[in-house]
């Protein structure tokens, strides 16, 4: 540790280095952390993947590193919540060093943030990321010369190719042990003059501060609120104020602008232009159309853009069903076989029923849909990592705007097809609170991955295999359309107000690495399986218990006698089913179902379905496992058909099934998502709004759907 280090920024533990990773959106900060450590942070190709700061720990050369991955920010503004997170962290928290990650292929724009960081009097290292990509584009950066010009180390790295990582860490160590050096950010003459004047004044009065006088002077000139507040309380303020007003006038005059922040942005821009002209060499001519522009001319074509997008979505759901159906058969027969084998080793009737019908039946019903989930997640991962997501936001903004939504709402909404929880969090990219709340309310209409099993189950039960994919597509699209209508209704009533501006970066197209897709999909799938093994298994056991107890001995002996009396095997089977049906009806679950049946009756739902829906408030996977438990115990399942889809086809009228699906599409996502929703919305009252809004909408829509289907079919 360096002795000269001032106490304020000195960490508690000597060989612990805390690094703040800062950069503009989509420059590969999270990817860089993944390359440095063995973390698997979520990576995508659009601005706003990381919405909250994340810490990653690793050891290197006797040092403990804590790297804080901060959300990307274009400049030191508080435009969106994520930018506020970064700004607050950099200004108020304790850390040792900043690694500023920049995109080598677009240095000038990236340096805009760098320039602001350099005025902060913190230790800064610049990581020139995407070096490999820059080289391919014929861009050559003289990193050594750049280090010399700016006065901070600039290291060429590539997070994808994992080059320069060691050098970067070594540079951090070296910088950490060296004394603070001054970055050489030079402003234009008038600004430097005013800075000098302010520094001289502060020095004359021996003003006590942690930051350098130069830093304070720049902050004062930039109208930094916090610096103003601090100095406002100091007696020197009365003298300082007139000097400051003069200084601002001088600078504004020089820039021919009445906005000091704009003037400073221009100062930074001209400094950056100077650096770029000195250190960057562009080999091939830029006039040629880039690959991204060529792809864009097709994908965001004014006429073909939207049909192409719809085709992609349709293909995704076709594949989800078609390819997903192949391994399903094997999984289904595996669990059937597994249940039989395990069941034959258990003597006790109740125990066997618990294990075979309860746990294996419930968990098996959920695991069955893993192939579908995997395909859907691959689709979403591709959408996120190629850069296509921002194009769709571009295409749909005009359309979305008519419904009171924002083009960028598309990003949380599409994330909602995977899982509502990250979707609620990614709504932070929306700046305006009203727009964000509106989007939060609509996310639930985008059917999440956990609802997919219910749709696949019902689509497979009522439609032929070649139609089921189309049915899935229709379910998702109509959910999205209902969401848009709901948005319009909310916009006209609850969320009236001015629209948020739409200014969004369109990232370069990138081919995602297989490894990246693999980690994303694996992570999501493991989460699904983990839930199946723990939460869902527990819920299935609870449902099993509630549906088996209390035992009615009178009913059992009554039927046992009847079964003994008859010789006909068919008659015996019928009686057995009848017994199961009656037992279920008088169980705890049956009683709850019967109690709530009048509420669900107008929707055409029997008590079993209403129980499944109520259980689904905990998590949508429980809907399938509950149906699995309820229909594997008794009901009219004939000998040949053992699968749940067959049981559903035999027991549920089509109109009721439609009504059931409509409720699933609209009502509350799940317990965990509701908690995240409440946190992101900022108040518990919004949860109750959401609950009533979705429940009432679901009830009305299901009622209409039920009666319409009954009339038509």
């Amino acid at each position: 540790m360096n002795q000269e280090e001032d106490v304020k920024s000195c960490p508690v533990i000597a060989n612990h280095i805390k690094v703040a990773l800062v950069g503009q959106p989509n420059v590969g900060k999270s990817m860089l952390i993944n390359s440095v450590s063995n973390a698997h942070l979520h990576v995508g190709n659009f601005s706003g993947v990381t919405v909250d700061k994340k810490e990653v720990l690793f050891d290197y050369d006797n040092y403990h590193f804590t790297v804080v991955d901060l959300p990307g920010t274009y400049a030191f503004t508080d435009y969106t919540i994520e930018e506020r997170v970064t700004h607050d962290y950099l200004c108020a928290e304790q850390y040792d060093i900043i690694i500023n990650v920049v995109d080598s292929t677009n240095l000038e724009k990236n340096l805009q943030l760098t320039a602001e960081l350099l005025t902060m009097s913190k230790k800064v290292i610049i990581a020139l990321n995407m070096t490999d990509e820059a080289e391919k584009e014929g861009i050559e950066i003289d990193a050594e010369y750049m280090s010399e010009l700016i006065g901070v180390p600039c290291i060429k790295v590539s997070a994808v190719a994992k080059t320069g990582i060691d050098e970067l860490i070594k540079a951090v160590l070296k910088k950490h042990t060296s004394s603070k050096n001054k970055p050489k950010l030079v402003f234009s003459e008038p600004v430097e003059e005013e800075i000098a004047r302010l520094v001289w004044y502060l020095d004359k009065h021996k003003y006590k501060a942690n930051n350098s006088y130069r830093n304070i002077a720049i902050n004062l000139l930039k109208n930094n609120k916090k610096t103003y507040e601090k100095l406002h309380k100091n007696p020197i303020w009365t003298e300082l104020q007139p000097i400051l007003i003069e200084a601002s006038k001088h600078i504004e005059l020089h820039h021919d602008s009445d906005d000091i922040k704009e003037a400073f942005a221009e100062e930074y821009a001209s400094f950056n232009r100077g650096i770029v002209t000195e250190v960057v060499k562009q080999k091939n001519n830029q006039a040629k159309k880039t690959l991204t522009e060529k792809i864009d001319s097709i994908l965001i074509h004014p006429v073909f853009g939207i049909p192409i997008f719809l085709f992609f979505m349709w293909s995704l759901f076709q594949l989800t069903f078609e390819i997903g159906a192949i391994p399903m058969e094997y999984i289904d027969s595996f669990f059937g076989w597994f249940g039989d084998v395990l069941g034959s080793t258990i003597q006790n009737d109740d125990m066997r029923s618990l294990v075979v019908d309860g746990i294996i039946g419930g968990v098996g019903a959920v695991v069955l849909f893993v192939p579908n989930i995997v395909i859907l997640f691959i689709g979403i991962a591709l959408l996120e990592s190629t850069g296509y997501m921002s194009r769709v936001a571009f295409l749909l903004d005009g359309f979305f705007h008519k419904f009171g939504l924002h083009g960028q709402s598309f990003i949380p909404l599409v994330t909602g097809f995977g899982c509502s929880i990250p979707a609620y969090m990614s709504a932070r990219i929306l700046k305006n609170d009203r727009d964000r709340l509106l989007t939060l309310f609509i996310i639930g209409f985008m059917s999440c991955g956990a609802r997919l099993p219910v749709y696949v189950l019902f689509a497979g039960a009522f439609f032929s295999a070649d139609m089921a994919g189309n049915v899935l597509f229709i379910i998702y699209i109509s959910g999205a359309i209902m969401g848009l209508i709901a948005a319009k209704v909310l916009k006209l009533t609850a969320f009236k107000g001015v629209d948020e501006p739409f200014v969004m970066e369109m990232p370069k197209y990138r081919l995602p690495t297989l490894k990246l897709i693999w980690h994303t999909v694996l992570g999501e799938t493991m989460m699904y399986l983990k839930k199946a093994g723990t939460f869902i298994a527990g819920a299935a056991m609870l449902i099993w218990f509630l549906s088996n107890y209390p035992h009615n001995l009178q009913l059992q002996t009554e039927y046992a006698q009847k079964i003994e009396q008859t010789q006909d095997i068919a008659e015996q089977a019928k009686l057995k089913n009848e017994l199961a049906e009656h037992s279920l009806e008088q169980s705890y679950l049956g009683r709850i179902g019967k109690f709530s049946e009048p509420v669900f009756e107008p929707l055409g739902l029997d008590w079993k379905m209403s129980i499944a829906l109520q259980a689904g408030i905990a998590a949508k996977e429980v809907v399938v496992s509950t149906l699995g438990v309820l229909y594997s115990l008794g009901a009219d399942v004939d000998e040949n058909s053992s699968s749940l889809a067959d049981a559903i086809r035999a027991n549920i009228p089509f109109a009721s099934a439609v009504s059931f699906i409509v409720v699933i599409m609209i009502y509350l996502p799940c317990f965990a998502a509701s908690i995240v929703f409440t946190r992101e919305a900022g108040h518990i009252k919004y949860f109750f709004y959401l609950f009533f809004f979705t429940s009432i909408a679901a009830y009305i829509m299901a009622f209409i759907a039920y009666n319409l289907t009954k009339m038509l079919v």
């Binding site: 000038e108 805009q112 200014v503 369109m506």
Partner: protein
């Protein structure tokens, strides 16, 4: 030609002034859309409700309403 909204596809202009509210102005500036910056219109939706521009090496999408606030001159 006065604002960016009046520009057609493939047209190149220089920014003269930003007539936007403070927050939006700062946003535009942080994207490199500031005085003297060169802008190229890459694509727009049929009704010009959304426009894709290129500023420096970055592609940015914005709405017609925002484009209207950017005063430009032809190069």
């Amino acid at each position: 030609m006065n604002t960016l909204l009046d520009c057609h596809k493939a047209c190149r202009v220089r920014v003269v002034k930003l007539n936007a509210p403070t927050a939006l102005k700062q946003r535009l500036i942080s994207f490199g859309i500031m005085k003297n910056a060169t802008i190229e219109v890459l694509e727009h939706t049929p009704a010009k409700s959304t426009i894709e521009i290129k500023v420096g090496k970055m592609r940015v999408a914005l709405r017609g309403e925002e484009a209207k606030m950017i005063e430009v001159e032809k190069i």
